[in-house]
Symmetry: C2
Subunit: 159 residues, 2 copies
């Protein structure tokens, strides 16, 4: 996948976590995801359509997700609380929206988020599409951002 | 939610399962989903953007999903197989695409699917949006379609 479409996610992750959670994130090297690994407990999922079509998934272990939600909302919310799911959905919305804003010259729509809470689930993108996994580390633990996109022929234009 | 946006899903579910799986489906009365129930094992998730923005989730117990995939692909695929996830993704894609085709006069984009496999997971839409649950029964078991949409002021036009 053209790195011009992954770099916006890397900067958006750092920006969202730093500004909304006051949490610096160390973003590792993006790589191709092997289909069924790893497993997660909490996943926020959003769809992209238009010139850039695909999905963005933000996945956490439960403890990390709970700490992230507390930093984001100022409340201690267990993973079974509907406001917890809403907060995770808003995080993936902000990360996707921040990346989309950097797809200059592209018409892109993003859907509303869906959040899955369930211990040890696997997340699959479409088999014919490459999923790029962006590993992230921060003081509250590790999490992953997975980006699976059908791309237009031309890369986004520079600012 | 305006029933004019739910009826297309009801007819699309019946149409997809009847034509692709040769499986008649009894579609129950759509109702408002209460946040955290029920739990599922396999969920295909797709995003909608444009004049109709939201998400569509097709959720199954494992045994029903496995039987549906066998009818759809002609192969016995366990739920851990990546072709299994791909088939579930294609089903939610067809159901969403069939509904979208009935949103006459509306510009709507649908994302690529994401599939979650994990015993007993919960699926949450955005808290501020109503999620409509469409209960379905067929010879291979029960499954659910959940539709969560932000709607335009005007209903889709008739044919």
């Amino acid at each position: 996948m053209d790195p011009a479409y992954i770099t916006p996610f890397v900067s958006s992750i750092s920006n969202v976590f730093e500004t909304m959670l006051q949490l610096p994130v160390s973003v590792g090297t993006p790589g191709i995801k092997n289909s069924a690994t790893p497993t997660y407990d909490v996943s926020g999922i959003i769809g992209m359509t238009g010139d850039v079509e695909g999905t963005v998934v933000l996945s956490f272990p439960t403890a990390t997700a709970e700490r992230a939600v507390t930093l984001f909302t100022g409340m201690e919310l267990p993973s079974g609380h509907e406001d917890f799911a809403d907060a995770i959905g808003e995080l993936v919305n902000m990360v996707s929206g921040g990346a989309k804003a950097q797809f200059h010259g592209k018409q892109v729509g993003i859907s509303t988020p869906t959040v899955v809470v369930g211990s040890g689930h696997n997340v699959y993108g479409r088999k014919s599409m490459t999923t790029i996994e962006i590993p992230c580390t921060c003081d509250i633990g590790e999490f992953n951002v997975e980006v699976s996109l059908l791309l237009p022929a031309a890369a986004p234009t520079a600012d």
